[in-house]
């Protein structure tokens, strides 16, 4: 690996010391050309010499999210520069998404095995979305959940014999359409009266006999969401 230049942005001296130690012992190709404890010092260093990689902490001084803004500015001014986030925000998932949107190449959490040589190398080789294990575990967890949800939906469709018209009817009910409005949809060949019957039929399919009394459209739609027939995150009306 070719030698490359690094600036470390870290406000806690003790942590900076540990990070420098990692570079010295595990990544000897990296030349630390400067370290900054706050935003002002960082931009001063950048004006002196532009590095190949910026290892950026998200929280500096009194601000716990200033790193996101710094990342955005770096990406705007130095498009080719690699940015690796090294943060102790091990639980703040929303901040991870923000900083990825701001142009970071990867996020390494200050937990588990901390900063690994392989991760830095992947970034230097131009790989995007480099994460260490704790983040990957979370991503995989979310992915599994999504896949399971889709499987549940497929199973529910089969188990409760939901056809495309049932799904469309339920989806539009969930979006607040009246039966008259639904019957006027292009891909809905049923009139309002038929939809009434279909609603009764759906109630019989989705609810056990003991719970069918007094079920209205809202309760029906809620039940459809509970059974994964409808995905509340993807409720979109048909284009007419």
């Amino acid at each position: 690996m070719e030698p490359f230049k690094v600036i470390i942005v870290e406000d806690v001296k003790l942590e900076l010391k540990g990070t420098e130690q990692i570079f010295r012992s595990d990544i000897p190709e990296a030349e630390i050309i400067g370290t900054a404890q706050n935003e002002g010092e960082f931009w001063k260093l950048m004006r002196q010499q532009v590095p190949d990689l910026v290892l950026l902490d998200l929280g500096l001084g009194g601000s716990t999210t200033v790193g996101v803004d710094i990342c955005r500015q770096i990406r705007t001014r130095y498009a080719a520069l690699k940015i690796l986030i090294f943060t102790g925000e091990v639980l703040n998932e929303r901040l991870w998404v923000e900083v990825l949107n701001a142009g970071a190449d990867g996020i390494i959490l200050k937990t588990g095995n901390l900063l690994q040589r392989d991760d830095v190398m992947l970034v230097m080789h131009g790989r995007h979305y480099v994460f260490n294990e704790p983040i990957l575990e979370k991503i995989i967890g979310r992915f599994k959940k999504l896949v399971n949800s889709e499987s549940d939906k497929a199973d529910a469709m089969i188990e409760y014999e939901i056809d495309e018209y049932d799904e469309r009817f339920l989806r539009h009910l969930a979006l607040g359409y009246t039966k008259d409005m639904i019957s006027s949809l292009r891909k809905m060949p049923f009139g309002a009266k038929s939809l009434e019957k279909r609603q009764v039929d759906l109630i019989n399919r989705l609810f056990p006999a003991s719970e069918r009394t007094g079920v209205n459209a809202t309760r029906l739609v809620t039940r459809a969401c509970q059974l994964h027939i409808l995905d509340v995150n993807h409720l979109v009306a048909d284009e007419d």
Binding site: D11, V12, L14, E15, K17, G18, Q21, Q37, N38, E39, G61, G62, S63, T64, T65, V66, V68, D69, R72, G88, V90, L91, R94, L95, E98, K110, T111, G112, N113, L114
Partner: protein, 1195 residues
Amino acid sequence: MKHAGLFIALVIAMQACSPLSDEQRMEIDRCNDRAYHDRYVNIDSTMFYAEKAERLTSRNRYGWHEAQINKAYVAYQQMDFDKAIDLLSQVTHASRNQFHLLSAHVLYMKIAQRVGDGESFFLHRSRALSILERINENHEELTEHYQRMVTYARSELHIVSSTYYYYLGQDSAAIREIDEAFEYARDGRDTAQWLNYNYMVGSGGLVRGSDDEVTLNEYGHLFLTYTMSSGRGYRYFEANALQSLAVLLADPARSSIVARERASSYGFLIAQFAKDAPLDSLCFAMARRSISLFEDYHDLYQTACAYRTLGELYFNRADYLPALDAFMHALSLVENQRQRSRYTVNPWMAGIREKLSMTYSALGNKALSDQNRNIYLDLLDQYRQNYESENRLLELKHEVNSIRLKTVILLVLILLTICLSYAVVRRMNRRSLVRAQRLTDFRDSADFRALTGEVNGIRDRLSEEMEYYRDTLHVSQMHIERYKAANVERRAKVSLVYSIIPYLDRMLAEVRKMLEDSPVEKERLSYVGELADEIMHINDVLTDWIKMTQGQLTLHVTTFQLQEIIDVIALSRATFEQKHLSLRLPSTDVQVKADKALTLFMINTLADNARKFTPAEGCVSIDVDAAEDYVEIGVTDTGVGLSEHDCAVLNDSKVYDASAIGNSDAPKGFGFGIMNCKGIIQKYRKTSQLFSVCQFGVSSRLGEGSRFWFRLPKALPLLWLMIALSCFPAMAETDGNPFEQMYDSLYASNVEGRHSHSLSMGTDFLRCMPVPVDTAYAVLIHNEIAVAALAVGDWDAYRRSNDECVRLHKLFTQDKSIEAYCEKMRTLQESGVQVYVMIILVSLVAIVLFYLLYLRKGLRSDRLYSRLMDILSAHIDNARSHVAQYGDVQPSHLQQAMDGDDFVRVSGECRTAVEACQVDNPVMADAAMQLIAEVEALYGRVLHDAQELISLDTQRYKASFEEDRLYVMNQILDNCLSTIKHETMYYPARAKQLVDGMKREEASQEQLHELLDLLQYYREVYMLLYHQAERQVEQHSFRRQQLAVRQALQTFADELSDTLRRQQKREVSLQVEADESLCVVSDADLFQALLRSLVEDSKRQCDAIHLHAREQGDSVLFTLTIHGVCLSQEETDRMFSPSTSSIQCLIARQIIKEHDSHCRMPGLRLYAETKGEKAFCIHFTLLNAQKIKIPHGTI
């Protein structure tokens, strides 16, 4: 035979109808006089002569009523109050003889006084006084027989009144009455009344002066009573005088004064009762003689009193067993009487019960002593309550006078109304006014005025209610502001806790590296040591911070009915039904002393857990079990249950992995709720000894369900003490009241059986009692001291405290009762006025109807006019009936009224009807239309006020909910942080110790493994506790709104300037510089808290503060320049880093973080820099509201 019977009946009837001769009358009078004379001599003789007089006359004829009064007196003396009242009622119903009625009412008063019926007492007193007023006018013309009756009635009335006031604790009134009695008793015609007067004065409490004077004066009266009564055969007074003399002479101090100053009479008594016996047997002999006389006289009440006196004498001589016998004998007499009659004499029973309590205590039987004391206190309270309405009759009399006055005013008003009507008719005849003008005048009509009056009345009530709602809302908002600031402080602490995690992870990573690389690098090892140091430093900051707030008692302890909490839980019944679970709730009248919001939180949490872990068709039940000093609240379910191991973990472990609780088949909970409940119970226990009964526990069997329970201290067991507290509910709140703290300590000490400690502590407190005295708590403190003194046998201290306790209690409840009654009377008076106003209005309506029906009849325009008038009347009636629906200003009723309101429709119909008349007479129609519009406007105002009230109520409810939410959240966060502090403090220090050990010698693999294990366990425990705290932080307190910068900065500057002026007596220059149009997205409370935090550390040294704000891209940059404080570059750099030791800076950092996460715009700044030699700046940014187009108000 049949004819003979008829003949006898006829003869009797003729006798009954035949007039009585003068001889017969004289004989009847003689019998009645003799019966009266023998009242205090021989009760059997009285009965004999009364019955004889009765036989000589016939029902309701001459002398019969007097005989009934004499018989009633005998029944009264024998405590057969039912019979006495029955006989007297025959007199009061049938007799018109004012002298008989007077005697009957006076006897009624005596009965009422004895049974403690204050209302009846004053009723008959009032009637007796009225009769006396009438008799006064013809006093000189009375026969001697009647003059004797009047003299008796007068003296007896005042003597009974004096007795009544004496028992009520109103000594001055009692003395005034006895002085009045003297005027009538002294004329010498009635020896019994003269003896009665002397006995009353001598029996104690009615003489003023020095101790010696009082003793000699009382002794003189009693001795006179004794000698006179024994000489003339008045056994009743002889026995009474002996009893009182025995009590007086039993006191060694008083006895020696009498022996010294009244040697001859004292010698006479010794010769009579203790001639050859030791001197101390004098009192006993007199008491025994008194018992014997009362028994001969057949006076049950006085016999029991005499036994009680004898018991007291034994008690004072420390002969407790004979004393107990005497008291028990007295009690058995009381119990006999209680079984015979529905009337009980509470003070009579109370006195005996008190003595029994003392005697049992002296005999070492604490349980029976406590039992008798509780009965004693309850009896006192019942007696007191009987007297509560004592002054009502007098007030009623005033009220009657007031009504008379009002009636006169009413008549004048009606007269005026008639005159006015006449004048109006004449005026109408003279002047031909156009009808339109009359229609316009309709707004002066009675209906319209009534409507206006009703509208104003309702609006006044609504306005009052709104003011009250606004006040309570304001209080809630102030609490919210305070709790919010406290919440952000706790969030900052959680952030500080969070800041340790990266260090911990680095330590773990370094140790793992060391295990891989061999040999261990010293530099790496020392780095681990530095990390441990840093963690310890942060722990120290956290510990100092927690310690600083530990002194602030934040629990809101009140006494409340558990049923109130159960009722709130009942509202969530639907959520149980949705899961097909049945929820069983108890009905209870138990009161507990605890924090109401936290108790609700705990029961709710446990019920919610039970709901989650109970399968369908199961049952969740809440039970309340009251023990002697605590109340156990349990939540039982028929759910999945817990294993023995899980139960043991929940019951015994401070820290546990909550997600591991539960079996593998059933869903597992986070279990933080249970941890929080345990934390709250721990907090109670730490707060005061009073809460030492607080406990939390769980019992469960796998597959059979669980029962989670906790215990809270039971509120006071004695009814009357609870009444005293409920008079001042606000005082029950813990706010550093020294009386409450002392009472809590005494109560807890007595409950724990440390009576000597309680006694000395209470006595010390009374010696230097703070002022002003808190009467409610003074009653309670005296009671606790009396209980302690009773238990340790300190009789003097017991009597002092008990007397003071009873005296204060009488004063306390008396004032309250009269005040409440006066308020009620005022309301009644107002209602009376309203009734008369209504009558006047009806008269006016009658005049208007007269005008409509007759004066203009026949004219064409009349029909139209009349129709319009009808429409308007109907419209106003409609408006009134609609307005009346808003009379009940409860928000729920107002909402109901608004939901069913159809006034707009009805008003529309009226408009249509008037428009139809437009063609016939547009001027009149316009006038009517104008009036309709006015009625609509009036109605609209009521509607507007009602809507505002409902809106205020909603706001109030929301604010109260928010207040409780923040309060509970803060309490739980406190518990979490406290647990983190206690449970994790050890590990970094141990890690540091291991590292130091390894630095001294070559680190071995075993040592590294030990360090790794320690750190892994530390992280596990730490994360577990952190997650518990973090779950609370997930609930937000941030209220995003658009904030005008200049105004907010100016508010802060004004408050700071005011604070500095008050606290430091100095002026600091505060300058605000910001554009008027600048707005930021923030929370108003947190913005102020942020500014306060930023200047808190330097406000004492600074000379001037400059607050500046300007736009900077999407943000607004705030700069606080603080002059007069010198900081180095390093200090400003470190100011807001996690390693800072300034708590205020950490709070400021947290507030900026809150803005970051709630405004969805990461990158807000907070930093400091030096400025010249003697100043520094703090910069922070907030989101510019104008750039992101957030609408006004809360988002």
